[in-house]
Symmetry: D2
Subunit: 239 residues, 4 copies
């Protein structure tokens, strides 16, 4: 059983009627719903307004993969929670950062770069599989058309990804590394660009399939150990 926690700042969906119409219970609930239909996955949700943002040591100890959506309130996430999440990722918890979460504190502390990119409201996107051999692309069509999406364009200031599983083509003339994997410590990280809150992108079956694949892939088979510190080792015998 893969234990997933879907975290959402849950702000836009309460403030704007148009967004609420798309995600009445919040983006997290939409994601939790389609994940929950998978036999091998069990889901819980957490949001910014909960105590400790719902990400206590207890919750993280029972989370194999954390999904993260954030945008307007990136800076309101407490540094203590960010460091706690970071420790768990380094110890083997998977992390899936969606859309504007590229600019979240947790992604910045884990990846170290500015995470900056180009953006513009309103474009059409065609998502291409650029690593068809990767488990996250299993059973995914070679292209997915997203009728409306916010444009995210290069240069995207990230460390070199392990794999660029998806590359986005935008009708307005840009390209983007839209699906990137990273490894940090024992943790597997997947950044996935689609999912602007004004469009019903997480309702698309093809996008859901990718997120389901990503949950499976981010779930490490390796036993987790916490914490990771420098170790003064005794001398080995017989050398």
């Amino acid at each position: 059983m893969i234990r997933v926690t879907v975290w959402n700042e849950f702000v836009h969906e309460r403030e704007y009627e148009a967004i609420k119409a798309i995600y009445p219970e919040g983006i997290h609930s939409c994601i939790a719903e389609f994940l929950g239909k998978e036999e091998a996955i069990t889901v819980r949700c957490a949001t910014l307004d909960m105590e400790e943002h719902g990400l206590t040591e207890e919750v993280l100890n029972h989370t194999d993969v954390l999904i993260w959506w954030s945008h307007a309130k990136q800076e309101e996430v407490s540094d203590e929670v960010v460091q706690r999440v970071r420790s768990h990722v380094l110890a083997g918890m998977g992390l899936i950062a969606l859309h504007s979460a590229h600019y979240s504190k947790i992604m910045k502390v884990l990846l170290g770069t500015s995470m900056s990119l180009k953006w513009r409201e309103g474009s059409r996107e065609r998502l291409w599989v650029t690593a068809p051999y990767h488990p996250i692309a299993a059973g995914v069509l070679e292209t997915i058309d997203i009728p409306e999406e916010e444009m995210y364009g290069e240069f995207f200031d990230i460390p070199k990804p392990d794999e660029v599983v998806f590359t986005g083509w935008f009708a307005s003339g840009e390209v983007f590394r839209s699906g990137c994997t990273f490894t940090r410590g024992y943790g597997r990280i997947f950044y996935f660009q689609p999912g602007h809150e004004e469009y019903p992108i997480y309702h698309m079956k093809e996008i859901q399939k990718i997120i389901i694949n990503a949950v499976r892939w981010c779930h490490s088979e390796i036993k987790r150990t916490l914490p990771i510190e420098c170790e003064n080792t005794a001398s080995y015998e017989a050398i």
Copy 2:
């Protein structure tokens, strides 16, 4: 002084008037001309119809960077010459493979994959810099518009590049890893997609700048040693 040899199969430019009009002396001569204007570069050319395709041991011994354009006659390049070029690349000679040279024997033996891609005649391309920190991108604008180019699209079956310096956006809806670096042995390899023979792409100043940068980058500072074989080493002392 960087010693460049520009190799071209030199077939299309002789067979088709329209192509001859663009490259009257062949693609190689066009490339040699703009490279030759660089103070630090000295150029010679070689073509398929020359003896040993103009790539004798003597020529390669005096070549720091080899530029390769081929398309219609990939299979007519002799295996002996291919192995000779491969040895020199592994020993430190730089290699720049242009456009359809992705499917050349030399690229296939060096990279090992099928090198397959999607293609279609006629599209408009916008080239994006996706590694602006790379020397090959030095002084290059973040986008270059190529009014007419053959479409090359993903999935491009290559081993994971060291860097994807340029990514192509095609008006017809595709993306492509258009500028990729690889290291094999001591040799630096740059694959660069632009340059379909029917369009005057190598006459574009921006494209020329990239090729000039690539020549500088592919020129290894490391002293070359030939050949590379397994070595039965004597025991080290004092261990």
Copy 3:
């Protein structure tokens, strides 16, 4: 069920009594035996002296992961079989190359470099896990001592691996990238250095565990397609 074919040149074990004593039925039989005890794995063997070296299209069509041991007779493997194996790897068949198989034709055509290294008979090796987060290292101790092993030392002329899962320390003063993963086309490749024929290395439980892990990891979840060629695509609609 993962279908494994263990291929062995099967020469040393017949020629030398000391080696025969370690592997009476050949190295392949030893490997097949411990793999065969795994519920999820089914095994067959093939050797150099079989017709088409036992690697017919039929056999490869029913092979998910091919294990390869070769040394003395690398050059006697037919080029036709090598190209056939290469096609299957690019289409998704896993490949595990053991010890001196670094210098096999199949590894050379897939990786493109000289595959050269330093070597010397007789040393003691300590294998270190240098990518403990990797599935091939799951459940493996952080070091494995191999009392007697042939020394393989750097520089090892390989393309940059996706991961260096194991690094070898030799008592004689050398280091080696002893467990390396590569992806070529849809195929996952694992090179694993331990296993000189004069020492009972494949009888070691810890080494067996690594090979079992590697079989699981090399088994791609992605549906295979053969062959991979360039594709002239029709225009996409609605762009």
Copy 4:
């Protein structure tokens, strides 16, 4: 002219007579001295006890490559200075982190992982070149013996390096990725393990050559731009 700033916490050399005997003016002065003999390099020093640790905006604006040695007082470096240095690295300033600086705040914020490793006082090290094609290895012997060095051993919790230029072999039975390159934003980073303060390692010509090579390599040819932020781009014309 490459403008280098050598930064040192400068604590051990003042506190311990034995260390002072090796580096009477501090490790930074030793490094500055051999760098200063290079025609293409100009050097200044900065230490922890200076105002703003000697790393003002003004100093960093005139620094192409920053060398960093720290150990006992990692946590006393102010967060403000760390963020300032990080911004400059992302904007193209090179960074060379020596020995225990793997655990500095600046390395942790740039790389994101725990940076943990194994260590033990007293061993003998043999440094192997594992990327002989890399400019940092130019003219360096394939092995360098360091008679006395603190042992640093794997697993070293770093993100996957661009290149592992050097790998350390320790007589006590360990291996280590001793010379690693990373790219973050426009900045080139080199981590180099040798240099425990109790041994005269920076007096060794071979070690000096590597640091000189690293200075040259870390010096980016690309014009720096500060800061790097997300950019709301206007629509491109003519798409």
